[in-house]
């Protein structure tokens, strides 16, 4: 009898809690994992900053495989979470399916454009930040620099293209080696292969290697440091990962995008949000770890280029628009 009573009261409590609508925001990480020291971790930091400042709560999930994308979106939407932020371009197709089913819920997708009335698409002008670090790479190298991309997709080609254009603006004759880790999502999480790619580029003469490869990049920075060369980090400030051997990092303020979305809450404005140099959405990292690597001249040149980009005097080609790059 007591057992039945317990069950009944337990299920009553369960029903009560399920009926309670939570308006907490939610965050979904992509397959690279929450602590990739890169893209996803930046998203996490933005959410934590919001939590520390407002004392609010948020729900989160780390995906384990492709099939969970739509499932996670629906679960959060049904749970009443609002807004729901997803870190990663790969959510685009799932979101276009789910968004119309939950017109009252606001969604934020980072790195991709989804055209729906309740979706905010946050995109970064990675080509601008990559242009600046490309300049710095070319100024620190003798004859060749390298680029290691993660998955071979148009988004990463945008990083590569900005990097190449920036390097060529400083030294038109510099050799630029470009490699991609793979074509599946494993490419974001293979530091051993990242290290081998970097070793191969260094063997071909590269003095500086820039990565846009998530967790794979840890191996890139390691291999560059081991060989006494320089790496360039991405997404987050990665200068500290190999102190003194990371020239700079191309910062992409994913944390800011998440923070803004959480702060705006359920009534956030939908549509486009473009984060570039002009609104500090991208940039290059300077701190004590790389202070000795970047000369005053170098920084002055980069600052000058940054001002020109913001003023519109330098236009940087966006490889996503036509899937090609004017330089290689």
């Amino acid at each position: 009898m007591t057992l039945i009573k317990t069950i009944i009261s337990a299920s009553a409590a369960l029903i009560a809690s399920a009926a309670m609508v939570v308006a907490d925001p939610a965050l979904i990480y992509d397959l690279g994992g929450k602590f990739d020291k890169s893209f996803n971790e930046a998203a996490y930091e933005g959410a934590e900053k919001w939590k520390a400042e407002t004392g609010g709560n948020y729900n989160e999930i780390e995906l384990q495989n492709e099939a969970q994308r739509e499932q996670a979106l629906r679960r959060f939407a049904e749970n009443g979470n609002n807004p729901i932020v997803m870190a990663g371009f790969s959510f685009a197709s799932s979101l276009s399916e789910v968004a119309p089913d939950f017109p009252e819920t606001k969604f934020v997708i980072i790195d991709m454009v989804v055209d729906a009335p309740n979706v905010r698409s946050t995109v970064f002008k990675e080509e601008e930040g990559s242009y600046l670090v490309g300049m710095m790479a070319a100024m620190s190298a003798d004859k060749a620099i390298g680029f290691v991309g993660g998955m071979d997709i148009p988004l990463i080609r945008r990083f590569a293209c900005g990097y190449v254009l920036g390097a060529r603006s400083v030294n038109p004759n510099i050799e630029i080696l470009q490699n991609y880790t793979g074509t599946t999502y494993h490419a974001w999480n293979d530091p051993i292969k990242g290290g081998e790619l970097t070793k191969a580029q260094i063997a071909q003469g590269a003095d500086v290697v820039y990565h846009a490869a998530g967790g794979t990049g840890i191996g890139v920075l390691q291999a560059a440091a081991d060989a006494g060369k320089l790496g360039i980090g991405v997404d987050k400030n990665q200068n500290h990962l190999q102190s003194g051997s990371v020239l700079t990092s191309m910062i992409k303020r994913v944390d800011l995008a998440v923070y803004n979305a959480f702060t705006d809450g359920a009534d956030l404005t939908t549509g486009f949000e473009v984060m570039g140099l002009s609104n500090d959405g991208v940039g290059y990292a300077m701190d004590s770890h790389n202070a000795s690597l970047v000369s005053a001249d170098m920084q002055a040149a980069v600052e000058a280029a940054k001002a020109k980009i913001i003023a519109g005097e330098i236009q940087i080609h966006d490889a996503l628009t036509d899937n090609s790059c004017p330089a290689s």
Binding site: G33, I192, K193, E196, K199, A200, G215, L241
Partner: protein, 322 residues
């Protein structure tokens, strides 16, 4: 087309990439020659890579890391042994279970321990096996061809690389020149005959999987403290399965296993160095084909086009005393 330096660099990279395959392949060889199929090589490597990375970080010693890796791998080997030898369970299922167990446990323990998403913190200094420059390498560097081969290809690897190469002849000697090896092979071919002559089948098989555990432990330690600098989730990335393919490709023999692993490592190195290979008249070979080649070659071997690959006769079957 490609010059001598490039070739040396690719070969150098092949050596680095083939070592985990080689160690895992020899591990599988001991186990399967004794009649225990082991598709849990991947899981054991992963567990060892994690234990080695974690212990090396905590103690600051790569050697202690390696011992911890071997220990973790032996524990999983023992689980496989108890399930498939003592309790006569299905060896394939036990192997699959070990892979799942290792994949889940490493990420879980890693996350709770270091709070870095299942990774161990990056290792540096003596917490890694550093590259060894062999004697005279710097001096002979300028000698044409041989000096370069010695400096680039033979010198400058980590200790585990040289150990792995030494284990190949050692394996051959143990298997084909010692009484222990003869009995081990006999247990894999005809355990009843071994039993009749008064030798314990169970003990022989446990000895085999113990060696298998040690070798897998070395392979995992190499991944996180030799070629890499720290453990990352799922860092084995299917190497245990490629090692199994190499084992079949080598027809369960130690010296051919060396060549098979070097070949598979070479294919990977080529894929890394030349992402798109252009052959005049044929066009571009896509990267995916290079990555699939080890498996394709194994299927060709298994189909009997290049000689016959005959596994040990009693492989996969638990021994039942009449």
């Amino acid at each position: 087309m490609i010059d001598f330096d490039t070739l040396l660099q690719v070969l150098d990279s092949s050596v680095r990439l083939s070592i985990p395959l080689l160690l895992a392949c020899l591990a599988g060889l001991f186990s399967e020659r004794a009649g225990i199929f082991d598709i849990g090589l991947e899981g054991k490597m992963l567990a060892s890579a994690f234990a080695a990375g974690a212990a090396a970080f905590v103690t600051g010693s790569a050697l202690i890391g390696m011992l911890a890796g071997i220990f973790a791998s032996i524990i999983l080997s023992a689980v496989h042994g108890v399930a498939s030898i003592t309790f006569k369970g299905n060896q394939l299922i036990s192997g699959v279970a070990i892979n799942f167990l290792a994949s889940g446990l490493t990420a879980l323990i890693g996350q709770n321990w270091f709070r870095q998403g299942g990774q161990t913190p990056p290792l540096s200094g003596s917490a890694r096996f550093n590259e060894i420059t062999l004697p005279l390498a710097e001096l002979l560097r300028d000698v044409p061809i041989f000096g370069k081969i010695y400096y680039e290809l033979i010198s400058g690897h980590t200790l585990l690389v040289y150990i792995a190469f030494l284990i190949v002849p050692l394996t051959w000697w143990i298997l084909f020149r010692t009484r222990f090896g003869l009995r081990l092979r006999a247990v894999g071919e005809n355990p009843a005959a071994v039993d009749t002559s008064g030798i314990s089948v169970v003990r022989q098989r446990y000895a085999a999987i113990l060696i298998c555990g040690i070798l897998c432990g070395l392979a995992g330690a190499y991944l996180s403290t030799g070629i890499g600098a720290g453990f990352g989730k799922e860092m084995t990335a299917g190497k245990g399965f490629i090692a199994l393919a190499a084992l079949i490709f080598a027809k369960w023999k130690p010296v051919p296993a060396l060549w098979a692993c070097l070949l598979f490592g070479f294919l990977e190195a080529i894929g890394i160095r030349f992402q798109n290979i252009e052959i005049p008249g044929v066009g571009t070979i896509p990267l995916q084909l290079m990555q699939a080649l080890p498996y394709i070659l194994t299927v060709i071997i298994l189909a009997g086009f290049v000689g016959k690959a005959i596994p040990p006769k009693a492989g996969g079957e638990p021994y039942n005393k009449e």
